[in-house]
Symmetry: C2
Subunit: 351 residues, 2 copies
């Protein structure tokens, strides 16, 4: 074959949100594996665990006692990476050793009192309560004048470094705008200035026409594998409406977000019939920087590590760390797999 | 305490080689861990393994028979991510879906016929032979006109995604210059144009004066924890002499490189008395792009994941993927730990 073919030949793809590239090697998925095999936790977790720091009524690592909570709750992280009272300062030795202090606030959000329920296994109204709590948290953090960016995220599964198995997410709010957001702001601003519409609206339109990378959609949101996905089953949720941040969503959109979250994470669990690990988080505009950021278009990234099965993951190592990211299966193949799965959670599927 | 202190307060540090930032949270190393615990391979590996694709005389996955090799050998990767005969082409849909074909060559280097010997456990003259083989490989790959960059690297240990435990490294040579190299070229060029000397010469001078981040040194090379290290025990080897690539090293420098490699990796193994996993690789100038790259200064990065012990690693997830990298222990603490260790490998230390 002498003509270049995206489904067969090694190539690079551009991430339009960051301006970065990924190397795709579609022919390579057949290589043998004599490497690490993960042990998935097959045991069903109990609904309550006595020594879990996050279960209702338990005492946390710092001595605080959790309330007997019945819905999602948020509290300040006992081991916050960022603190609100860090004194200002820094160091700069001829531009070679450069550091500056960083203030911030870190919060933990328990999705549910139940130790055994992850997002896909929760009922829709309970997921909607998580969305509402994100809203409340975002609102109060955005009201802190020194906070410029609020990162809402979840590390799910122990292979994603989750330090406690009780289903929970986190929020790290910082004084500076993090690098990934700087990149996405730059790319979105360039596009907005040139075309007068958001980059992701234009991108979404193309994807909805081509269909091959779409995983799921409802009235308000679309879940897809981005053209430039790095992780094997990476996905994005994009709001159909061009809004800058979560606080702008209508009640109907909040329902829609809960629904697409449940659908995407259920498809993930069904893919390898395991509680599918990932890091996920939403990206939205910076706050309190004196700008209105019309270019920003709310979206959410899912970065799941599993590649071939519940036990073999993709390692972002070596070439990926030193040169740039690489993937084997194509985004189109990944989207097809996810799209073809049932929307009922495998644990609930009839016998 | 009201004055900012790098050893106590959260802050960000600038990576002068890439222009990127890392968040440092020195106060955070005491957080409890209810997360993933790795199982280190405690069993001593045999010198020869019958079903290993890389042991001498064995048959590889693609049917090729390995020679009965006695020193390091190199061959083309049976499952290369990049191929030399990829047809040229690409796609560009309004700047939104952008891809281009990518040619390249992937090589595997077995460090030794012995299945059980990693770099720190090999004798100095045998490590020198690996350095010489890197040299030969680099020379022949740089002679291929379409190759612009040659990434020499090693993934060590199964938690670093090494797909075969036989000690080996890889070389991925590509038609385009990878992103990490583009960043380092830009930063080094800016500095060189402004100051007429290499960025890393100036940086090394500062580090040698301050001493606190130095791990080891010999006549030709220095090993240190960079001021902007992301991984807990990340390190760099920098050549004292400002050269652009490996082919410029004198025989004495090649000996020096073998020696500092053995010393750094031995200290690594001694830290937690385990075969210390990492991804490592050298960075040097691009080839065949019509430029002489006087700004480039050869160096080698080591990215090891272990954090607290042989079984608890740092996870670059969540905030790190969505915002920017974060570390707990300071680079100064990490360097001190590594510097204070014996230079004799723990397996060889007397009873
Ligand atoms: O080439 P290997 O050893 O099969 O594979 C390993 O190294 C590659 C290059 O760093 C990575 O892309 C793979 O994810 C990793 O498992
Ligand atoms: O905050 P946790 O759950 O203790 O820790 C986890 O998430 C953090 C934020 O993504 C990471 O920095 C840690 O490496 C990871 O283990």
């Amino acid at each position: 074959e002498n003509t270049f073919d995206l489904t067969a030949h090694p190539h690079t793809r551009l991430n339009i949100l960051t301006g970065e590239w990924v190397l795709v090697s579609p022919h390579r998925s057949k290589r043998p594996w004599q490497g690490k095999v993960e042990s998935p936790s097959l045991v069903q977790r109990p609904a309550y665990v006595e020594d879990c720091y996050l279960c209702p009524g338990n005492t946390r690592a710092d001595g605080t006692k959790n309330p007997a909570y019945t819905g999602p709750i948020a509290f300040t992280n006992d081991f916050s990476a960022l603190l609100a009272d860090t004194p200002q300062g820094g160091e700069n030795e001829d531009g070679l050793l450069v550091a500056r202090s960083q203030k911030g606030i870190c919060r933990v959000i328990c999705f549910s009192p139940r130790h055994d329920l992850t997002l896909p296994e929760m009922e829709l109204p309970d997921i909607r309560k998580v969305v509402d709590l994100w809203h409340t948290e975002l609102e109060s953090l955005a009201a802190v004048p020194f906070i410029k960016y609020i990162q809402i995220f979840e590390n799910k599964g122990e292979i994603m470094g989750c330090s406690n198995p009780h289903p929970h997410g986190q929020i790290w709010a910082s004084e500076d705008v993090p690098m990934e957001i700087e990149k996405e702001t730059r790319q979105q601003r360039n596009y907005y200035q040139q075309h007068g519409r958001s980059l992701l609206s234009a991108y979404l339109e193309k994807e909805l026409k081509q269909e091959e990378r779409i995983i799921a959609q409802n009235e308000h949101f679309v879940a897809l594998v981005p053209f430039w996905a790095v992780w094997p089953y990476e996905a994005m949720i994009i709001s159909r409406r061009h809004v800058q941040h979560l606080l702008q969503f209508t009640p109907a959109e909040r329902d829609g977000l809960a629904a697409i979250l449940k659908e995407l994470t259920t498809r993930y669990d069904n893919l390898f019939e395991t509680s599918f690990p990932y890091s996920a988080g939403m990206h939205q505009m910076p706050f309190n920087d004196g700008e209105s950021h019309p270019e920003w278009h709310w979206h959410m990234h899912f970065y799941p590590p599993l590649l071939r099965s519940a036990t073999v993951k993709k390692f972002m190592v070596g070439y990926e760390m030193l040169a740039h990211p690489q993937r084997d299966i194509t985004p189109e193949y990944a989207a097809g797999r996810l799209r073809d799965l049932p929307v009922v959670h495998y644990k609930k599927a009839g016998v």
